[in-house]
Point group: C2
Chain length 321, copies 2
């Protein structure tokens, strides 16, 4: 197969100069699952690893996008170049973007040192987990000092994406009930910076106290990082400098030991695994007529076989075993 | 390998009498990814297919558990046996249960015709998608007329689980901002019954109007089901009978045509695919020392290879290709 590697080299060269159109085009190739994905990874490899990757997640309605916008302002004042990937939580079927979130970040759209992009899911479990690290690599190569990956929700997929970051930030707010409960259960293990946004509202102090209490239940040995709890009002910018400081401190702490290398190794493993699952799906879908999976489903329905045996047969068939 | 199929046959026999302890034990085997999963599937196969599987999802804080509790009351009055699987959205690491949700359903815990169970994630992408259909089969064999699978969130994983149901119910409420926006984008395609809960609050009528408007944008041909929009106040029980009616009507509509068979075929396909992914992970993890995936991650980190080639190599190695 002839590869258009010349095009790609030129595109990557332009991305490295910070050319916004080239960055946009390369991100589109990544998002649309281009057949060039492998070549893109090869072309970008020498130019990645410098950016600080920050995962920012939380339930709907806590003000993540407003906080991201305020954080961009602070980081720009510090002379940093920023990339934002807003990972879209909408239906796997419709795959639309959250217009509201985009609008809230619009104040930065004319700044050539800020790249903001929504990444939509493509209805594939694992598909997004494979695309996000590659998209991060594009922004990294474009010279971003910080890349923020923003996900909505406290579900399995969202936490998995947050865990791929160097620094994982969880944003909560008062008055969200179950969402906060659910999020709290996981904070001790995987979150590096905790933000209680909407600090001007009733209940914010209580959310911070609850988080501190949840934290105290987890034993933290002396070398381990204890996530700071930062209270913000993103709409006014109050507290956002402290968030930027906490993120920078966590990066320095990681870089001072083996932490950064370990996280990035884990990220590479997660990426390879996600890609392997996508490749497996592709092999299953490329079966003969009638579709292998559909035929297996019919055999399970008629009681001819059970789903576990059907799955094992399917894997063996897909790999010519 | 010697199989303890005698134990399993006895357990399934007791499950079929509605023995709550046996149901609990079999669900634990499913949740803990027992080596007997395949045998459990084989043992349950003859006794499943009767239950109406209802997926119930929505953003945190809309009152899903209160609604489920109220729905149980209505269905019990109609003489039905009910199973509820509360799929836990907490961290893949801690895997704790949502105590609050359990408490809200406690009024039914002494009723021998109601089975309520939380299923925790085990940190495996796809793991839950493989376990849920099997857990549904346990409650189906226990004689449940309706099995409600309750998930929290509007993320990819949650919608995938909802789509496995015969009837997918989406619960929204006023005052949730982004969550409702995100959910609305997907409703037309995959939701069969729409519930606007907290109808006693400001903005409920507007949420219902927005949903109707979103629906009207989708062309619905004459044979296709148009999701009814039901307004409820779950805390008082208002509107919950209408939800039960809508769910029953959707089931009858499905059963009157090819709909039910088609959905169940899709569910079987989804289950097989999820199991195949879990089996793939197991094969990858069972590699030699040093762990295959870890070694691949190191090669990607050093620039020796790219993640796409590493993933392809990994698949070939796992299947002895």
């Amino acid at each position: 197969v002839a590869r258009r590697t010349d095009d790609l080299d030129e595109l990557v060269r332009r991305v490295r100069t910070g050319d916004a159109r080239a960055v946009g085009r390369l991100l589109s190739l990544v998002e649309n699952d281009s057949w060039q994905l492998r070549d893109i990874a090869v072309a970008l490899a020498p130019f990645s690893g410098a950016a600080h990757v920050v995962g920012l997640t939380g339930p709907p309605g806590v003000g993540k996008s407003t906080l991201t916008g305020a954080l961009i302002t602070v980081l720009r004042e510090r002379g940093q170049r920023i990339g934002v990937l807003a990972v879209d939580p909408t239906s796997p079927v419709s795959g639309g973007a959250l217009l509201g979130d985009r609008i809230r970040m619009e104040q930065h759209t004319t700044d050539t040192n800020v790249f903001v992009r929504s990444l939509a899911t493509r209805g594939q479990l694992g598909g997004l987990a494979a695309a996000v690290p590659q998209a991060v690599r594009v922004l990294d190569a474009a010279g971003c000092d910080v890349v923020v990956v923003e996900t909505v929700g406290v579900g399995q997929a969202e936490l998995q994406i947050a865990a791929l970051a160097d620094t994982a930030v969880l944003v909560l707010a008062p008055g969200l009930g179950d969402g906060v409960q659910a999020a709290k259960a996981g904070i001790a293990e995987i979150v590096d910076v905790l933000v209680v946004n909407k600090d001007d509202r009733d209940g914010a102090a209580q959310v911070a106290r609850d988080l501190r209490a949840a934290q105290s239940l987890t034993r933290v040995d002396e070398r381990r990082w204890r996530a700071p709890i930062v209270r913000t009002t993103a709409t006014t910018g109050a507290g956002v400098t402290a968030v930027a400081d906490a993120i920078a401190q966590h990066h320095d702490w990681l870089a001072s030991g083996e932490g950064l290398a370990q996280r990035r190794l884990a990220r590479a493993a997660g990426e390879i695994e996600a890609i392997a699952l996508v490749q497996l799906r592709a092999r299953l879908a490329a079966g003969t007529t009638p579709d292998l999976l559909d035929a297996a489903a019919r055999r399970v329905q008629t009681g001819e076989t059970d789903p576990y045996s059907a799955a094992a047969d399917l894997l063996d068939t897909a790999f010519g075993g």
